[in-house]
Symmetry: C2
Subunit: 130 residues, 2 copies
């Protein structure tokens, strides 16, 4: 028995909490549960958006969208602490959203994913409509 159907049956047998017949539709709930994407995918999605969902990181990405930059220049562009920038770069690197390469004493960062600019584009359209 799949994890999904286990939880579903659990729901069916515990109707003291939740609403009754008029609004509780086992058939609909069942169908939707079956058509939900894999839990792994949903977690990955939430994780991706969580990484994008921070002011500092969004500004980093918008800067890198224009050109490859060293940490130092990024720090200047953002006007913030070098340590804070490095910490956020690590989060972006772990999420495979940016990549880095060494050049002399410096480390140059750039975007590592073709979807990111698309996400920012689409997201901007949503924001503009508010």
């Amino acid at each position: 028995m799949s994890k999904h159907s286990y939880v579903m049956i659990h729901q069916f047998n515990n109707r003291e909490e939740g609403c009754q017949e008029e609004c509780f539709h086992p058939d609909i709930v069942d169908r939707i549960r079956k058509e939900m994407p894999e839990e792994k995918l949903l977690e990955g999605l939430a994780q991706l958006f969580k990484v994008l969902g921070d002011n500092t990181r969004i500004r980093i990405l918008n800067a890198l969208y224009q050109t490859e930059l060293c940490v130092c220049d990024l720090t200047s562009v953002l006007g913030m602490n070098q340590s804070a920038v490095s910490h956020q770069l690590r989060v972006l690197r772990d999420a495979k959203i940016v990549k880095s390469r060494k050049k002399g004493k410096n480390v140059l960062y750039s975007l590592d994913d073709s979807h990111i600019s698309g996400l920012i584009q689409l997201g901007s359209e949503h924001v503009h409509e508010q």
Copy 2:
């Protein structure tokens, strides 16, 4: 003088923190700063992604992507507390990502933005490539 140029000049005059000439490129930093999107837009973007960046909310959106649902059925689909679901629905409503309408004793929720499914689509592609 714009806020941007103020911060920029501040940066130029405080080089004790940060890196020196070899990696600090005033011209590049200046250009990037000028071409950065409006701060308002960036904040809105980060806020949008932050709202999408939660496991529960992503699951709600994937359920609503299939059909309009009342809170009660959503609660069953997700297998969680009604209060928790309502709290998250409020976050999604505030962000204009879902909308609601009353029907009898129930409140039916549905997606309110054409961009959201596109964002989920694009995001999924990124996740699949990991």
